[in-house]
């Protein structure tokens, strides 16, 4: 077993708001191995982006990483000084963002901005940097890179801008690339091209990729392992095929069920997950998913489940797990997946 390149251990990130403390990331741990590509999946507000930003210590105010470790080559990134973490950013761990429209500086030429990414780490002089920029743009398949380097961002299409962002991310040949919903703002055909590009880079350059997304399809296409986040916690993790075929957490199961299917009957209703994502100012007691869970049992209302092995390499934080839900609650035949539908345990019915 190779050693992990990045180890996140019991990460806690909080936002101090007027209403109280929001635990945006609450005890997240995971390992990333060299050349691996993992997906972090979850709804908006599940803490997946904040997890990524915490790794590079870029959490916006009033957020603070309050505890945990982020070990990169046995070095805790959370303990580094300002100048040391700046050196890591972009050089060892690079990040690309959701909206390529707004993540390029509108008044600077695209090529210049990629040059700058190299110059920030004294990796090259201006001339060498420009040469490499052209190579990078060619690598991310931007046509006529020699002329495109002189374009301003508004002269590029959305897909090309995201390619340029990826080129910028790769400028210093980082060992880890964190992609925060890089395809969300793009249309579907362009999405596919960008994902294919990332998969190629992952395979050819050996860059480890952390893909943050709310789209299960993106994970399926790119990642070998997936972490499912809900309300600031990891609720399930494991190899992608295994999770897709045998999800053990009811949340993962619901997420997969809610992907619209082409072969669905015409007037079949889209399957959504009932209820709203929890208010992190006042997270529910017990399992955080229990207010929306079709298979909750009494224990879920009071005791918080820990991540535990439910199959080889697969961890889930659930008292019931889908295996039991299938056997005992007929999960597969369930049409109505409202909270408590499987177990029959409605909110008011819980005996204290």
């Amino acid at each position: 077993m190779p050693t992990p390149i990045l180890q996140v251990k019991d990460l806690h990130t909080e936002f101090l708001t007027d209403g109280g403390v929001v635990k945006a990331v609450d005890g997240v741990s995971f390992d990333l191995y060299p050349g691996e590509s993992i997906g972090i999946v979850g709804e908006s507000g599940s803490g997946k982006s904040i997890t990524a930003l915490s790794i590079l210590r870029l959490v916006p105010d009033p957020g603070r990483v309050v505890s945990g470790q982020v070990l990169f080559h046995d070095q805790d990134l959370l303990q580094l000084g300002g100048e040391e973490i700046r050196e890591i950013r972009g050089r060892d761990i690079a990040m690309i963002f959701q909206d390529p429209q707004s993540s390029l500086n509108p008044v600077l030429r695209t090529g210049f901005q990629i040059d700058e990414a190299m110059l920030a780490h004294n990796k090259a002089n201006r001339k060498q940097a420009r040469q490499r920029t052209v190579e990078l743009l060619r690598r991310v398949r931007i046509p006529a890179p020699e002329t495109r380097v002189k374009d301003f961002p508004h002269q590029l299409s959305g897909g090309m801008r995201q390619r340029a962002m990826i080129a910028m991310g790769l400028a210093n040949a980082p060992s880890i690339l964190i992609a925060d919903e890089p395809t969300t703002a793009l249309d579907v055909t362009v999405q596919a091209q960008i994902l294919e590009l990332l998969a190629d880079l992952n395979r050819d350059l050996g860059t480890a990729i952390v893909m943050i997304t709310h789209n299960m399809g993106v994970v399926a296409g790119l990642c070998s392992r997936v972490l499912v986040m809900y309300a600031g916690e990891i609720v399930e993790q494991g190899p992608v095929e295994q999770i897709f075929e045998h999800p053990q957490h009811p949340y993962t199961w619901s997420l997969l069920r809610s992907i619209p299917r082409v072969d669905a009957l015409r007037h079949e209703r889209l399957r959504s997950i009932e209820g709203l994502a929890p208010d992190l100012l006042h997270p529910p007691a017990g399992c955080r998913f229990h207010p929306r869970c079709p298979f909750r049992v009494e224990k879920c209302f009071t005791d918080e489940p820990r991540l535990q092995e439910v199959a080889p390499d697969q961890l889930a934080a659930c008292w019931v797990t889908m295996e039991r839900a299938r056997k005992e609650m007929g999960a597969d035949d369930l049409i109505d997946i409202r909270p408590g539908a499987g177990s029959g345990l409605r909110k008011g019915e819980l005996t204290e």
């Binding site: 972009g90 963002f97 509108p106 294919e196």
Partner: protein, 307 residues
């Protein structure tokens, strides 16, 4: 225009089609050439710019040649009106008004532009730091700005000129002391807004140094408003200098200033109105020109205008 070139695609699978249609670069090269194009279509701004170019030329010519020496008395009969020999007449000591007006243009331009150079030099860095680091730095800067806004301009300028003495340099210092706050506040506001933009986060995530983020990313994005603000600041400074000189605490005789020339003329306004009218018209035209130019620049540099 991007030509269609096929690139080797690593790995199996069909080459993704990289779109080449509809991606041709627009003819416009940059924000600046765009702004210049819009500015050229603004007739008043263009006329103003032409006037100001002429004014600068006159001021430069005055360095080497004026019809008469601006300080030589008795070149004409005192109070005499415009004539072929003295186009704008003569003043109380028989000095040539046109020559004095030309030298006065130098003073006005030096004060107007010089003041704004220092206002930018002071206001931009302080505004950037206050807006970027927020917290204590911002609180201190904002407090000082508010204190300066609280004291009347004229009082600050008069006290400074009394302490330092009324030289041209000190006049500039005094005006900067009363005018640096607008620029600082503008840049601070711009920085506060820009620092939250995603490209700043992206720059930070690529390891850019704070100085690079401030001067390489935030400053270029606020250049438009800074230029407009500085352009409007020039006539304000010129007017303030004229006002100080009118009161006698500005440029000292025999150096002419449009303000002191008007003050001299005021005493004789009934018998020699040209002494007031000539510097007043020069002053008004110059102020108007800078303001029209500022207006034009504001419209031209406004990113929301995409005409």
């Amino acid at each position: 225009m991007a030509t269609s070139v096929s690139f080797p695609v690593p790995g199996p699978g069909p080459a993704p089609v990289v779109g080449t249609a509809g991606l041709s670069a627009p003819v416009q090269a940059s924000l600046w050439s765009d702004a210049w194009r819009r500015l050229r279509r603004n007739r008043m701004a263009l006329i103003s710019a032409v006037y100001l170019v002429i004014l600068v030329a006159v001021a430069l010519v005055a360095l080497v040649h004026t019809p008469y020496s601006y300080r030589e008395v008795g070149v004409a009969r005192p109070y005499s009106g415009p004539s072929w020999a003295n186009w704008l007449g003569a003043d109380i000591l028989g000095r040539d008004v046109l020559s004095r007006l030309m030298v006065g243009a130098q003073i006005s331009l030096i004060v107007g532009v010089g003041t704004q150079v220092f206002v930018v030099a002071v206001g931009v860095p302080i505004g950037l730091l206050a807006g970027y680091y927020k917290g204590t730095v911002d609180s201190v800067v904002s407090f000082i700005i508010n204190v300066f806004y609280g004291i009347p301009d004229l009082l600050v300028a008069m006290i400074l000129l009394l302490l330092l003495g009324p030289s041209l340099n000190n006049i500039i210092i005094a005006i900067v002391a009363t005018r640096w706050m607008d620029m600082t506040r503008l840049v601070r506001g711009q920085t506060l807004a820009l620092r939250e933009r995603e490209f700043i986060e992206a720059a930070r995530s690529s390891g850019a140094k704070p100085a690079k983020i401030l001067f390489g990313h935030i400053l270029p994005n606020s250049l438009g408003p800074i230029i407009v603000q500085a352009t409007f600041g020039v006539p304000a400074a010129i007017l303030f200098e004229a006002f100080l000189s009118f009161l006698g605490i500005g440029v000292q005789p025999p150096t002419p200033s449009w303000g002191s020339m008007a003050a001299d003329g005021l005493a004789a306004i009934r018998i020699a109105p040209h002494m007031v009218i000539a510097p007043s018209i020069a002053l008004s035209l110059t102020l108007m020109a800078f303001n029209f130019l500022g207006d034009g620049l504001r419209d031209a540099l406004d990113p929301r205008q995409k005409r």
